[in-house]
Every structure is written in structure tokens, then in C-alpha cells.
Symmetry: C2
Subunit: 322 residues, 2 copies
């Protein structure tokens, strides 16, 4: 029989400082946390798991793992237009990592992101086992205003935020142990920026929204399927950062389409609101790019056309390090 | 590179029927779920992870694993006096289990408990990796009425629900591959009964409450530490089921004190409310047993006395199958 990891003291030793007091009636250290909810709000809830060697290299630093895990989860809140407020952490760690140094690094990484995005850790469970991190984020949305995948209509304009392909380029560099080359890409991989402020603003303009975690082709197809529409995009219009356009000229188009791990938002805006939206986005300094248009779904249920061709590109899905 | 498990289709194929519609504005299939909250309620949130070979034998059936995972999580709601309403599932499965048979069994087990306790699955994430299940349960509590570990006062009466030691006896039988002997114990291990109705009623009587997952000694000590009091219990008064008293006469007292995995409630009731509480418990047919009394904390900070002796028994903690 193995000696158990003492969950009770681990959580209070390393993570208790992360529990803020924003509407938290009971925080870490009880059987459950209790949170106060305002009457005119709904709660958004999302869960994501990151497994070592699947979602991050198993030799990544504890701080990197923690920042990536929380950022990726916060991105789901951005996609709903929710303001993230609280999160729970289920941390499974092998015994050799249950040392104070690793846990301190992990806790610091988590604290940094929690502070930046003003979210409080409200509960946790630490277990001995193969390294994996499951985070559940809770956020607030003004009642009835949440952004869904469903809701895109023919003639809506399709936008993406930021640049695409950076996640795949970073992964390529990690796999070729070449990350020192480009600190922007290291940051994009280990600290992908959840587009919270953009998402919160989009509730006033967008008809549908999704975050790009599996790649634009896969995620835009999900949005179209949920909305029962099709999308037509122009591959030349995809926003790609100059440094990867230059360094990876052969791969970069494919990465932007199917690479995944970008954590940008892909969303649709009714054409009648386009001008008003773009004025707002510009004044708020959000980088957004028009990449195509929504159309009615044809009889063959093709959700996506790229440069007027039915997409035959398969979705990239998750990246595996094994 | 491994082929990814398609999380999107797994969740919709196997788990979509589990999402009820109780106050769920947006259910499975979006970046996050959205739930409606009533104005006079607070939300209780708890997360627990079960890892194969640590919290259940790795050859346990998919249905057994699912029922145990959800029951154990619901027990945290019971301990808070919360009514569980929603849950998210983070399921990490090795590729060889990502077959329809295993997933169907898992989904059926989950559906059975979700139906019994009227909780809806609102989100999920399925990942390839070593088998583990993280569940986050959300429940409602009338504002300000949640039961905490903190709150016990000197002279409060200490109670436990049901019988103790069954979890350890079941574990013993599993480890000796002897579970066929006693179907009551098999059920206690794979379908521990979360004491939801008792917890919901206790908000009217109890000063503090905890669920017994790590063993009475460990969990009552947690309650005392949170309340800054000590507990004095009488080992002869611990409720033990006749069948394990007979079959395991040597081990049974130790199991009742430190065995863990019982998922009963341990709670304190001010003596002034004792009579009223016991009348209610009796009329509602809850089996509860007085096991001792709360006292002021002494200078040595001993949280627990058993039969008037300072407890030197170490907490059993988690059970490991490795």
C-alpha cells in the first residue's frame, strides 16, 4: 500500500492564498465552497483536463503547466462572454513531484494567472497518480446574454481574434526542442491569452462564438453544426503573425487552418451590426479579422467551404506529445 | 503522434442524455454550460478525483467506477446541506477503454445515480490518458444556511449517520478478492449512499458537519480543528453493522475509527436542540447515533479523545490499491 498524499494539508499549504473573497461565503477547507450569486446573473461552468504528455510535454515546468491549464480553461469563459470568477482544481500528481519545489512552482503559476484575471480558487482535490490537471471554471453572465455556438445566421460575417497558427508553431518548436528561438511562441503555448474582455464585449454584437482550441476548421465546423448553417472562408485572409509566416512558410497555412491550441475567438456578427462592431473593436484596440461569411446549409450538409471548395481538410484535433 | 480521442462526439454520443433541463439554459455541446440561479440561493461547489488503482481497483467495471465516482462527489453536497443539481465530468481514459462497451457501461452507471439524485450533467471533457475521473458537483443552499466544519461549540452532541467500518470491510474483501461474500458491502463500496436528505434537513439543527471519507478520526479531527474545539467520543457507542461485527471481530473497531470510505455524515447538534432533532430524525427514519460530546480545546490542542484517552491513532487516510 502506498502512503497517501495528504490532500488536506497540500491544499492549505500551497493553494490557500489563491482563494479570494469575491462573493465566496465558504472557501477552501470545507467539503464544498459556497458562492453568492447576484439575482440578474447566470452562471457559466466549464471543465477541461490537461494530461502530461498529451496536452503538455511531461518535462514542462510546474509553473508553465499551471499557467497553461488555467488559461486554457479561462478561454472557455471568453467564448461564452462570461466573466470568470471562481475555479476548482483537481490535481493528480506522481509521488516524485509532490515535493515543495514543484508545488510551489505550480502554485505560483496558478496565482499569477488567477491574479491577472481576478478569479478565486474555491476548492481542490489533490491525489496521487499520473500527472493531470482538471480545472472547472465558473463565471457570471448577465441573464440571457451568453454567447453560444448556436445562433449564426446566413450573411453573418465571420471574424477571428488575434493571429492563427501560433499554437501549432509553438508545438512544432517544442517537439523539435527549439523553443528558445522564439519567446513569443513559448508564451503563446504556456500562457495563451484568454480573450475575456473581447468575449464580454461581444455579447453586444456577436450571434455565435467559439474558442479555437482544436483548430479553426474543426471549431468553425462545430459552430456551423450547432447553428445549422455553413461557413465560407477565404484562406488568404487568415491573420498570421509575420514571424511564423517567414520561419515556416510551407506549413503556416495549414497550421492556421487546422493547427489548434490558438485560444483565439471565432465569432459571427450580423452584417447589420458590422460597422458598429468594428468601430467598437477598433476603439477598444481588439485585433479582429474578417475571414468569411455564413451561408445557408446545403443539402449535402457541408459545414465549411475554404476558397469556394468544400473542405476536405480533416480537423487536426488535439496535439499529442507521446 | 497518437490519434486523439474525439471529445466532441464522445460526450454527445454517450453522455448527452444525462443532461437534464433543470435550470440549464445551455447544456452539453458548447464551450461552457449556463445555469439559472434563484435569487435566495447560494451555490455549493465541490470537486473530487478518483484515480484507477488508488480509489478503485483498476479491473472494476465501468458501471461500478461511474456510480462510485458520482456518489462520492454527491456526499460532499450532503455534508454541506446542499441539494445537488448539476455536475461536470472530466473523464481521462486509456485508449483501450475508449470502446463503446466500456463507455456505455460508464454512462449507464452515471445515468442511474444522476437519475436517483436528480442531478444533470452540464459539461464534460474526455481525454486520452491514464484512467481517472474528476467530477465537480454544484448544488443549491438557502442563502446563509450551509453546514460547515466550523461551528461546533462545547457541549454540542456528536452524531454519525448509518454504520461505520463498512467502507474498510468492503476494501478488505476487494483486496482479498472476496467481495462475492457480501453484496451489502459491494454496494457500500461501489454505490455509497450520499446522505443528501439528511444533510438538507440538518441545516435546521446541526452546528457543524463533515462527511466521513478519510475515517471518523481524521474527519472529526478536521471538524474540531475548523471549529477550534475538541471532541470526546466513546468507542463502544460507534454504530457497526452486525454482519461485519461478526465476520471481522478483530478489525472492526479500528475500521470504524479510521477505515474511511464510509460516506456517512458526522455532525454536531447543540444540546438545547437535541430532543427536537432526535424527534425529527426518528420521524424521518434517519439512523443516527450519539457517539460523544464537544468540549473546549485544551492547551495541548488535542482535537480528539477516545474513551477519555488522547487519540494516538493515526488517521487512515486514503486507501490505495497499488
Amino acid at each position: 500500500m502506498n502512503q497517501p498524499i495528504d490532500e488536506f494539508s497540500l491544499i492549505s499549504d500551497y493553494f490557500k492564498e489563491l482563494t479570494g473573497q469575491q462573493n465566496v461565503a465558504v472557501g477552501i477547507g470545507d467539503d464544498a465552497a459556497i458562492i453568492d450569486i447576484k439575482a440578474d446573473k447566470q452562471i457559466a461552468v466549464a471543465t477541461d483536463t490537461l494530461v502530461a504528455s498529451v496536452h503538455f510535454p511531461k518535462d514542462a515546468s510546474a509553473e508553465h503547466i499551471a499557467t497553461r491549464a488555467l488559461c486554457v480553461n479561462l478561454s472557455d469563459m471568453a467564448a461564452m462572454g462570461a466573466t470568470p470568477k471562481w475555479f476548482t482544481l483537481a490535481l493528480t500528481i506522481p509521488k516524485q513531484l509532490a515535493c515543495s519545489e514543484w508545488l510551489q512552482g505550480f502554485s505560483q503559476g496558478l496565482a499569477r494567472i488567477a491574479g491577472e484575471y481576478n478569479v478565486s480558487l474555491i476548492g481542490g482535490d489533490t491525489t496521487a497518480g499520473p500527472l493531470s490537471i482538471s480545472i472547472t471554471v465558473l463565471g457570471e453572465i448577465p441573464t440571457g446574454r451568453g454567447l453560444c455556438r448556436k445562433g449564426a445566421k446566413p450573411d453573418d460575417i465571420i471574424y477571428v481574434s488575434g493571429t492563427l497558427g501560433d499554437g501549432a508553431a509553438a508545438l512544432h518548436q517544442i517537439q523539435h526542442q527549439d523553443l528558445a528561438q522564439n519567446t513569443r511562441l513559448t508564451e503563446r503555448f504556456y500562457k495563451p491569452k484568454p480573450q475575456i474582455e473581447l468575449g464580454v464585449g461581444l455579447v453586444n454584437y456577436a450571434s455565435a462564438c467559439i474558442d479555437i482550441s482544436d483548430g479553426l476548421v474543426a471549431d468553425l465546423s462545430h459552430l456551423c453544426k450547432a447553428s445549422s448553417v455553413s461557413a465560407s472562408i477565404n484562406s488568404q485572409s487568415l491573420p498570421i503573425h509575420a514571424d511564423i509566416k517567414q520561419a515556416y512558410s510551407k506549413q503556416v497555412s495549414q497550421w492556421a487552418l487546422t493547427g489548434g491550441d490558438d485560444y483565439q475567438l471565432c465569432f459571427t456578427v450580423p452584417s447589420i451590426r458590422q460597422e458598429q462592431f468594428e468601430r467598437w473593436a477598433c476603439s477598444a484596440k481588439f485585433v479582429v479579422t474578417t475571414i468569411g461569411k455564413i451561408a445557408a446549409l446545403d443539402h449535402n450538409q457541408n459545414y465549411l467551404k475554404i476558397d469556394n471548395q468544400t473542405s476536405s481538410i480533416t480537423a487536426g484535433g488535439y496535439s499529442h506529445f507521446r
